[in-house]
C-alpha cells in the first residue's frame, strides 16, 4: 500500500510538472503568451487598444476550444513607451514568467529596446504594432511583424502618394523626435529623394507633448510648401493643425498611419477636415460595414465602459494578429515547440480572421505580414477611403533575395 501511494504521488508530481525537455510556457492544457505595450503615458492609446483587442481575440479563441486543446493564458507588462521598460518587460516575461512566445503591442520607441534581447533568446516575438525596421530587418528567424508594416514601406507609399496624388514638388515634413515619427519622416525623405528626386523644402522636429508648434510652423511657412506631412501623435497634430490655421497656412496636412484613427478627428475636430493618411486596416472603428458593426458590438459587449475614441485601430490590429499567432500555434500541432511555431507561421499565406483585418503573409525569406495600406481622407468628421493605388514596385522584399 505504501509503495502504491509513493508511486501514485510520483505520478501526480510528474503530471503536474512539465516533462523534461518540454517547451517553456506550454503545459498539457495551457500555453502562456507574454505581451507588452504602453498602458500609461502619452502613448497609452496604443497599448490600451492593443491589449484590449488582443484579449478579446484570446477570449474568443479560448471559448472556441483554445489551441489544440490548450487555453491561451496572457501575462501583460506595461512598457510605458520606453525602450528600457520594454527590455525589462520582455526579460521578466521570458526569464521569470517563462512564456512560450511574446506578443508586442508596444510602439516602435519601446519595441526597439526589446528586439536584440529577443533575437538573442530565440523566443518567438510577434510584433503587432511597432513598425521600427529592426523587427524585420536584418531578418531574424524568431521575429515576426503582423498588421503594421515596416517603416521603409510607409516611406515608399507616403512618398509616392505625396508626389503623385498631390503632385507636390514642395513638401514640408514635421516629425516628432521619438523613434516612430522620426523613422516615418526619414523613410519618406529617403524615398522622395531616391524615387522622385524631391528634397523636402523644410524638415522640422518637435518633442512629444509639446503644446506650441508656432516656431516649427513659422519655418514651414517660410518654405512655402504645397503640402505638410506630419508624423507624431493625434494630440500634437491637433494643436499643430489649429495653429497652422491661425498662422494663415492653408496647405493640406498629410499624417502618419498611427493617426488615421477616430481619435484624431475626435481631438482636432474641424481642423482635421481634409487630412489624408494611410490606414493599416480595411475599415476604421465606427465604419458601418457589416463585419465592422458585428466586431464593434462584440468589442463593446466585452468593454462596456470604454472611454470615447475606443475601440481604436490598435484594438483591431492586435485582434487580427492574435488570431494569426493562434493560427500559427494551431498549425504547429499538439507538439507545440518554438521551431514548429516558426515553421507554421512561415507557411501562413493571406490569412485573416475576418474582413476586419488585412490578410497577413509570411515566408521563409521575410516576416513582414502586411504590405498593403489604404489611403483615407477626413470628410465630414469621418475617415473615408481615397481612390488611389500604388503603381510602383516595393523595394522592401528585394533585400531578402
Amino acid at each position: 500500500m505504501k509503495r502504491l501511494l509513493v508511486a501514485a504521488g510520483a505520478a501526480l508530481l510528474a503530471l503536474s510538472l512539465p516533462a523534461f525537455g518540454q517547451q517553456e510556457g506550454v503545459t498539457a492544457d495551457t500555453v502562456t503568451i507574454g505581451a507588452h505595450g504602453p498602458i500609461t503615458g502619452p502613448a497609452a492609446y496604443i497599448g490600451l487598444g492593443g491589449r484590449d483587442g488582443m484579449m478579446l481575440a484570446v477570449k474568443e479563441i479560448n471559448a472556441a476550444g483554445g489551441i489544440n486543446g490548450r487555453k491561451i493564458v496572457v501575462v501583460f507588462e506595461d512598457d510605458g513607451h520606453s525602450p528600457t521598460k520594454a527590455l525589462a518587460a520582455v526579460k521578466k516575461l521570458v526569464e521569470q514568467d517563462k512564456v512560450f512566445a511574446v506578443f508586442g503591442v508596444g510602439g516602435s520607441n519601446a519595441t526597439v529596446g526589446a528586439v536584440d534581447y529577443m533575437k538573442e533568446k530565440g523566443v518567438p516575438y510577434y510584433v503587432s504594432i511597432a513598425s521600427a525596421p529592426p523587427v524585420t530587418w536584418p531578418h531574424a528567424k524568431n521575429l515576426f511583424r503582423g498588421g503594421t508594416t515596416e517603416t521603409a514601406r510607409y516611406g515608399e507609399l507616403y512618398a509616392e502618394f505625396l508626389a503623385t496624388n498631390y503632385k507636390a514638388k514642395r513638401i514640408a515634413i514635421m516629425s516628432g523626435r521619438e523613434e516612430y515619427p522620426r523613422n516615418e519622416g526619414d523613410a519618406t525623405v529617403d524615398k522622395l529623394k531616391n524615387w522622385f528626386q524631391i528634397t523636402p523644402v523644410a524638415r522640422v522636429e518637435f518633442n512629444i507633448n509639446d503644446k506650441d508648434f508656432t516656431p516649427q510652423l513659422v519655418e514651414v511657412q517660410k518654405a512655402n510648401p504645397e503640402v505638410i506631412a506630419f508624423f507624431g501623435n493625434p494630440a500634437e497634430a491637433a494643436i499643430a493643425m489649429r495653429q497652422a490655421k491661425e498662422l494663415g497656412l492653408k496647405q493640406p496636412f498629410f499624417v502618419g498611419s498611427n493617426m488615421v484613427d477616430p481619435s484624431l478627428v475626435n481631438v482636432a475636430k474641424a481642423s482635421a477636415e481634409g487630412v489624408v493618411g494611410f490606414s493599416l486596416i480595411p475599415y476604421l472603428p465606427g465604419s458601418k460595414a457589416d463585419d465592422m458593426v458585428k466586431w464593434d458590438a462584440a468589442w463593446k459587449k466585452e468593454y462596456p465602459n470604454a472611454p470615447a475614441g475606443r475601440p481604436n485601430n490598435f484594438d483591431l490590429l492586435a485582434y487580427g494578429d492574435m488570431y494569426v499567432l493562434a493560427e500559427g500555434m494551431k498549425r504547429a500541432g499538439r507538439n507545440l515547440t518554438t521551431a514548429a511555431l516558426i515553421s507554421a507561421l512561415e507557411g501562413i499565406q493571406n490569412y485573416r480572421v475576418s474582413p476586419v483585418a488585412t490578410p497577413r503573409t509570411f515566408s521563409t525569406k521575410h516576416h513582414i505580414g502586411n504590405l498593403a495600406l489604404v489611403p483615407m481622407v477626413v470628410k465630414n468628421g469621418q475617415w473615408e477611403p481615397v481612390q488611389w493605388t500604388s503603381t510602383r514596385t516595393s523595394d522592401i522584399l528585394t533585400r531578402y533575395n
Binding site: K211, Q243, A268, K269
Partner: protein, 291 residues
Amino acid sequence: MTATLFLQLAIAGVSVGAIYALVALAIVLPFKASGVLNFGQGEIVTLGAYAALILTQLALPYPVVLVSILLLGAVGGIAIERVLIRPIVKAPEFTLVIATFAIGLLIKGAISIRFGDSPNTIDGPFGAEPIVAAGLRFNPTALWICACTALVTVLVIAFFRYTRLGKAMRAVSVSAEAATLMGIRVERVYRWSWAMSTAIGALAGLLVAPLIGVNPEIGQLILRGLLGAVIGGFTSVPGAIVGGVSVGLIETYSGVFVGTTFKNLVPFVLLMVLLVFRPQGLFGAAEIKRV
C-alpha cells in the same frame, strides 16, 4: 522677419504663456499661505479638464460649466487639505511635497483607469475660427484665457490686500505661530488657500482643454508652471503671471531664433542665469536675516 510675424509670435507666446501663468498662480497660492509646494497641481488641472469634458457632454451651458468647475475645484481642494494634508501638516516640508506628488499620481492613475488615455477635446466658448485684426490672427479661446488670467490675478491681488481672510493668509505665510497668537485660525487659512488654488487649477483645466485637448498628460504643464513661479519669485502673485507668460514667450521666440531643438531648453538656461544674479526671482523679496 516682418513686424507682423514678430507680433504673431508674441500672440502665440502669450497664449501659451497665459496657460503656464494660471498653473504658476495655482502653485504659488498654497505655498504663499501654508508653505506647501503642491506637486499635484498639474493633475488638478487635468481633473478640471476632465470635469469640463463630462459637464460639456451633458450639454450644460458654458457659464454653468464654468461655475461648476470652480465649485468642484474648491470642494476638491478642501477635501484634499482636510483628508490628506492636515494630518501630516507638521511633517517636514519634504514629506509634504512628496505627499502632494503622491496625490497627483493617484489622480492621474484614477483618470487613466476611468477614461483611458485616448485624447479628447471640448469646444471653447467663442468657437475656433481665428479673429483677424490689423493683419494679426487671434485664437478666441486664447484671448478668453488671457482675459480670465488677468481677471483672476486682479481678484487674487485684491483678495490678499483687502479681505480679512487674505490678510490672514499673508500673516500665516510669515509665521503660522505668530498668526495663531494673534487669534488667526490657521487651519481655516490653510483650508481656503487650498480651495482657492485647486479652484484656479481646475479653471485652468477648463480653459486649456479646447486648445491642447483633454488627456491624462495635461499635468505635465506643472513643469512650465513651476518654471514661471520660480522666475516670478514664488511668493508673488504678479510674479507668477509675469513668469508664466515669460516662459511662453521665451519658448516661442527661442524656437524661431535659436531652433526648435533647443526651444524647451532655453527657458531653463535663462532661469539658471536669472537665479545667479537674482536668486529671489523677479518679484520675490530677498530674505533678510538679523545678524
